[in-house]
Symmetry: C2
Subunit: 315 residues, 2 copies
């Protein structure tokens, strides 16, 4: 197996594009239900019909099969809506309706409206059921050799991790909980996942944009497949001095490798990276002049696809 | 007048998005004609009806008013199609149909198909009539002071230039002619526009991705307004040593300023930059950690909008 960089993008940014084929897009959209919040006439997520069906008849929810819309009608503010969502999901967890809820994290993710306002919070493990946008931070740690060559710190996820076990990752990556700022989330994750000190991160980590994509979950993600997962990752670069070595700080990382760009590319082509982490590497390669229009035939397509404009509001 | 960064994006990337409002998008699309090439069942550009109308009854062209498609039917290969396009446009220039053709450049721009193949070439000044994607290179030249501060070289276009006269620009920017590679085009433009030596450019200019957007031309662009102009700019950074000073190399640049980031931001907010050059500055600010999610409320939107996935094929 040798995957092209565009193959890697297609694996992670799998939801169709209207621009490419309007008919295929429309046919695809029509297989989903829109998730809406009462008094807000736009979608905040797409749900599988088999998932939306489970919300039928439950207090706080109304379903319109003609328009294919599931509406959260319980509450007029963040607290009330979030409570309605939690009550519903806790009940579904008890009845064992969804495998993804077995990984209940007790961590809340935010869902935003078109005025960048928080609409409600939802338990992290349930976000792919609702198909809402989730947010994270991904950091690439690297160093420059005295010859000017870039070498990149690449962790391998522990083999027994239930999601993407044994796959390669970005140096630091994590979800942003509701109420937490991206940079503060980054500082915390750098300490937890790579034993990188707050001083180093605050002084040297550089914000470099976002990577956005629309993922469709498969077996490797765990739980139900085909769930829709639009994501926005805040991207950071961290150029480390030679004597700062990332080390596993929790039980999520097996070990860190210090690899040349060619070694990273080779592992990417073999499909060894967690899908969204491969995209973060591609973004790094584009920004650092490693991928160019001369050596990458899909350069323009890749630059756009790494920054998908999502269908749903973002903060 | 104080423009937000998102205002600057909206000015340059003005074509509606399906994702934001499908009905508005559909209504907008329905005011245009698709430009197609015979035996290729997809659009390579969007044209105003008033422009498509002028092609009615001309040899090599067929128009379908029901489907709103103008088809280039003259020729089965690049040479034949390009000749048909040239013959048509030369005749239209002679008859004075279009103001944009008064700026005939004798420079050919490429139009590509879905297999990245060249379909035909078109005279540069006519490309906005056909609404096809055009390609360019934009380079930001900057230096770092001993305190680590970034200062940016900003040229002002000569005041009597008919397009965007007197506005601020990127250090080097130019269109890529058919058959020319982006980097070779950059080397040429760096010499012509900023008197930067080939040695400096080849050794220090770094590819940093693309900026793509869908512009709708206004008075400042010259010629007919409301013409559609989807564009892809290959982006380069060039960190210059203190002693290399860009100088106007042709009659297009009035003078170069060496500005702090704050001075650049201020001029952007005043609308002093040529619209697409403001986008290139925003992309630079995002990649260099100058704009962050903490100081820019539209951070996610901006990162996506700088990398629009265009409706038409690109190479």
């Amino acid at each position: 197996m040798s995957l092209s960089n565009l193959d890697l993008i297609n694996e992670c940014d799998a939801f169709p594009y209207y621009q490419v084929d309007p008919d295929h897009y429309a046919a695809s959209i029509n297989t989903y239900y829109e998730l809406r919040v009462e008094d807000h006439d736009y979608a905040v997520g797409y749900m599988l019909p088999s998932v939306a069906e489970v919300f039928r008849g439950i207090p706080h929810w109304s379903i319109d099969d003609n328009e294919r819309i599931l509406t959260l009608a319980g509450g007029s503010n963040v607290e009330e809506r979030s409570a309605a969502v939690e009550t519903t999901l806790l009940a579904m967890r008890t009845t064992g309706h969804f495998k993804v809820l077995e990984k209940w994290r007790d961590e809340l993710y935010p869902v935003y409206g078109r005025n960048k306002e928080l609409l409600f919070n939802v338990e992290r493990s349930a976000s792919p059921l609702l198909g809402v946008v989730t947010y994270g931070v991904h950091l690439t740690a690297y160093l420059r050799t005295t010859e000017g060559e870039i070498k990149i710190w690449i962790p391998r996820r522990v083999y027994n991790k239930q999601t993407y076990g044994g796959m390669l990752d970005n140096a630091v990556a994590g979800g942003i909980a509701s109420g937490e700022g991206p940079f503060e989330s980054l500082v915390r994750e750098c300490s937890e996942e790579a034993s990188l000190s707050e001083v180093i991160v605050r002084s040297k980590a550089k914000a470099c944009g976002t990577v956005t994509y629309f993922y469709i979950r498969d077996e490797k993600a765990g739980g139900e497949t085909r769930l829709l997962q639009p994501e926005c990752q805040y991207i950071y670069d961290l150029e480390l001095p030679d004597d700062v070595i990332p080390k596993p700080g929790d039980d999520e990382v097996e070990e860190f490798y210090l690899w040349s760009v060619d070694e990273v590319k080779e592992a990417m082509a073999k499909g060894e990276f967690k899908p969204n982490c491969a995209l973060v590497m591609l973004d790094f390669f584009v920004r650092h002049g490693i991928l160019t229009c001369e050596n990458e035939k899909d350069y323009i397509e890749i630059a756009s696809r790494l920054h998908r404009k999502l269908e749903f509001p973002t903060p």
